[in-house]
């Protein structure tokens, strides 16, 4: 209950509900007992005539219809006793939407447990060759990962491409590492180096040097001038710019540019840095699901660039 609710409202709702139901019962009882005086007319009308020729027929309800009303009253009282309906009263069954959802989810997990048990018995690397596991992994990927990494796992600007094989991974390409990344998430930090490098011109020169590392089109003279500033980068990216998988520092000598390619994009990252976040998934995915999902992600780098997984054999 929120701060602005007093318990009085709960009582108010409960009282109004109970009084209404009882009032209906009393009305039914009185109406069932009542005897009204009526004119016995040959044409079976009540004798009322409106607008010159509209007559009201006297067609009383059949008595069994009254029992339907009484059944609804009884049903209503039983329902209100069993289920939450009277203000804050929880009902004898203690039923709630959340409880129902959790019970359904638990039942679903239990029914899937034997299948997942057979998957978790295998290491991720072996599972990456299991068609049934991959079909399930792909569905998990579509539900939980594709919003950022794309349905084809090739990502976009700022969202890593997961299909490039071992060389494209910021960290080591292994089942354990993928499981850890999905479970705990990751935070990639490139510190802002603008102040350390100095002037805009210096940053521009350094950007051209970085482009030269991967053989991208660049200005030779600026790149030559920018080489001396690279010492500030080498701590993480290494003297040769090949990066450091232990730190998660990207290889600058390949053609993959996660945060955009070209002088402008690179100069921007040097100057302002970048914090990139992969959110942890443990809150909504179980260990078993992550295990299967990791197998699918691993399979994306496993040689075949095609992502369409053969469906599981029909049951």
């Amino acid at each position: 209950m929120g701060d602005f609710f007093s318990e009085g409202w709960s009582w108010y709702v409960a009282l109004v509900s109970v009084i209404s139901v009882l009032a209906c019962a009393v009305l039914l009882w009185l109406a069932g007992k009542a005897r009204v005086s009526a004119k016995a007319r040959a044409d079976n009308t009540t004798g009322h005539v409106w607008d010159e020729d509209l007559r009201e027929y006297n067609n009383p309800l059949p008595r069994w219809w009254m029992w339907l009303f009484i059944i609804t009253v009884i049903f209503g009282l039983i329902y209100l006793a069993l289920y939450p309906g009277l203000g804050a009263y929880e009902g004898m069954h203690k039923w709630s939407q959340q409880g129902q959802h959790q019970a359904d989810a638990r039942q679903m997990r239990e029914s899937l447990a034997p299948m997942y048990a057979q998957f978790t018995a295998k290491p991720v690397a072996d599972l990456a060759k299991d068609a049934q596991a991959l079909a399930i992994g792909q569905r998990h990927f579509m539900n939980y990962c594709s919003q950022c990494h794309g349905s084809d796992a090739r990502g976009g600007k700022g969202y890593p491409n997961l299909t490039q094989g071992a060389s494209g991974w910021l960290g080591p390409l292994s089942g354990e590492h993928i499981v850890q990344t999905i479970t705990q998430g990751r935070q990639g930090v490139m510190p802002a180096m603008g102040a350390a490098i100095g002037s805009e011109a210096a940053i521009s020169d350094l950007a051209h040097y970085v482009m030269s590392l991967s053989g991208s089109p660049h200005n030779e003279i600026k790149a030559f001038g920018g080489k001396k500033y690279f010492a500030a980068c080498a701590a993480c990216h290494g003297n040769d710019g090949k990066g450091n998988k232990a730190l998660g520092a990207p290889n600058l000598r390949d053609s993959y540019w996660l945060h955009g390619w070209g002088e402008e994009a690179i100069a921007n990252i040097i100057k302002n840095g970048k914090t990139n976040v992969m959110p942890a998934q443990a809150a909504w995915l179980s260990q078993e699901q992550i295990h299967v999902l990791a197998a699918y992600v691993l399979s994306l780098s496993g040689g075949s660039t095609e992502l369409t997984v053969q469906p599981a054999p029909a049951r």
Binding site: V36, R41, V49, M142, G150, G155, G156
Partner: protein, 480 residues
């Protein structure tokens, strides 16, 4: 009636002189109706329809096709199998079509010959007919049943009642079981029942429909038609003065009265009598307990039992048949011949109903015949709008859900069109299991300068192996 001198909008009328005041309840307890058994042409038709509808209803779920139940509405898997057809929830339009056809058929039949549906095909009528037959076998016909009910409880009465209700309950349960068998494979259901391992929901629905059958056909009967069925009430809106309805020929029948069979027509006419001998059989056979001689009443379900029984009486009296017959209000008023009445069937209302009904039926059949046995939904990836692919090509990612509505494994080829040089960069072959569906990520690439920045309509062409194809619209985005 006396009217006030001043005309007023609402005019309460003084009551007639001879009315006497009585005390009455707000509710009405109606007497039980004991319909007498009847045989004749219309009764045989009703039994023919009982057999036809119930053989289909009870028999259909037991038929198999393609290794599965031929007709099965699998709600949990959202697949609806009707012999060779596999329908998805997306095919709801066919259900709409079926409902429109049913409604129009009703309009048509009702305009031509009144409540044919009520009299011959409505489940309420059909099951009441079956339950009445059981009742007759156990308790005897009308007179014996009335006697049995009025008599004191005895071992014999108890045994008969118990047997009747036992048989009713058994038929009701079988009906409920059959109904559930349209939604759960009936052979598995039968095994579960045999092992007493029926699930809670299946048990509930079997009992629910079993009880509904037993209650409606055994106890409620005409009360359902009179008080519960909305449909009974609005059918009279489709009648007109040329609608064939069960009618009593007042001119020929009145005045009523007993007479000797030997009395000549001239003799009883001279006494002021018509052809109605006032035997009351038409009231005794009526399942809704009305007297057809009072004219058309909303309770009349057009079952024609009164026609059948009156014809047997007329035969016995050696009078011509048809004192009660299918006739139209115009026919009775103007003394039209049968041929004249039939000519009036071809009136605008009937012709329009027929034309619309045929058009809708043809449209539904045609669309079923031409429908492609697979479906595709295209969903654009929202996370990445567009990206640069190989050699500066612009790349968009889509997810195609391919649903195979056939009973065989199928393979499909994907193509894309709408921009010069547009092509699918990922695999363009998809295989989907029988009655299965699959999400397929598809990368579509455009040459670097083939289209300006902005949004461009494109189309996916999905071709099944046998050449049948579907076109699905999508949008290709080119970044600035």
């Amino acid at each position: 009636m006396k009217q006030d001198a001043q005309p007023a909008k609402v005019i309460p009328i003084a009551l007639a002189q001879d009315d006497s005041t009585v005390l009455t309840s707000l509710y009405q307890t109606e007497g039980k109706i004991y319909p007498r058994s009847v045989s004749g042409w219309f009764s045989r038709w009703r039994w023919a329809l009982v057999w036809a509808t119930q053989l289909v209803f009870y028999g259909l779920p037991w038929l198999s096709q393609h290794g599965r139940q031929a007709v099965l509405f699998d709600l949990s898997a959202r697949r609806f199998y009707i012999v060779d057809l596999v329908l998805y929830p997306q095919d709801l339009i066919y259900l709409t079509g079926l409902l429109i056809i049913s409604a129009l058929s009703l309009f048509l039949f009702t305009a031509v010959a009144g409540r044919l549906w009520c009299g011959y095909a409505c489940p309420q009528t059909v099951y009441t007919e079956i339950f009445l037959w059981i009742e007759r076998q156990v308790e005897g016909d009308r007179v014996q049943r009335i006697k049995l009910d009025q008599g004191p409880m005895s071992t014999g009465k108890f045994a008969r009642k118990a047997l009747k209700h036992g048989l009713w309950a058994a038929l009701g349960l079988w009906t409920g079981f059959t109904f559930v068998g349209y939604f759960t494979p009936i052979q598995e259901l039968a095994q579960e029942v045999a092992r007493l391992q029926l699930g809670p929901w299946e048990s509930f629905w079997v009992l629910f429909y079993g009880f509904a059958t037993y209650g409606n056909a055994g106890w409620m009967r005409e009360q359902v038609c009179k008080y519960m069925c909305p449909y009974a009430r609005f059918q009279s809106a489709m009648f007109d003065r040329d609608t064939l309805i069960v009618s009593y020929d007042q001119a020929r029948g009145e005045g009523r009265g007993a007479r000797a069979r030997s009395e000549s027509a001239a003799a009883y006419r001279a006494r002021g009598l018509g052809d109605c001998i006032d035997c009351g059989l038409c009231v005794q056979v009526c399942p809704t307990g009305i007297d057809i001689r009072k004219g058309l009443q909303y309770e009349c379900i057009s079952c024609s039992a009164c026609i059948d029984v009156c014809n047997t009486v007329m035969d016995k009296m050696h009078y011509p048949r048809g004192l009660i017959r299918y006739s139209t209000p115009n026919g009775l008023a103007h003394g039209l011949s049968v041929a004249q009445m039939w000519r009036r069937v071809a009136r605008p209302r009937v012709l329009i109903y027929t034309a619309v009904l045929l058009a809708v039926a043809a449209a539904v059949m045609g669309s079923l015949w031409l429908r492609t046995p697979f479906k595709v939904d295209v969903v654009r990836d929202r996370g990445s709008i567009a990206r640069r692919g190989d050699a500066g090509r612009i790349e968009n990612v889509y997810r195609l859900q391919v649903m195979n509505a056939s009973e065989h494994r199928q393979s499909y080829t994907l193509q894309v069109e709408g921009i010069e040089g547009l092509q699918i960069a990922s695999s363009n072959k998809v295989e989907v299991a029988a009655a299965g569906s699959l999400w397929v990520p598809v990368r579509v690439q455009m040459p670097p300068t083939a289209a300006a920045a902005g949004s461009h309509p494109i189309r996916f062409r999905i071709v099944q192996d046998d050449g049948r194809e579907l076109l699905e619209k999508a949008v290709f985005l080119v970044p600035r």
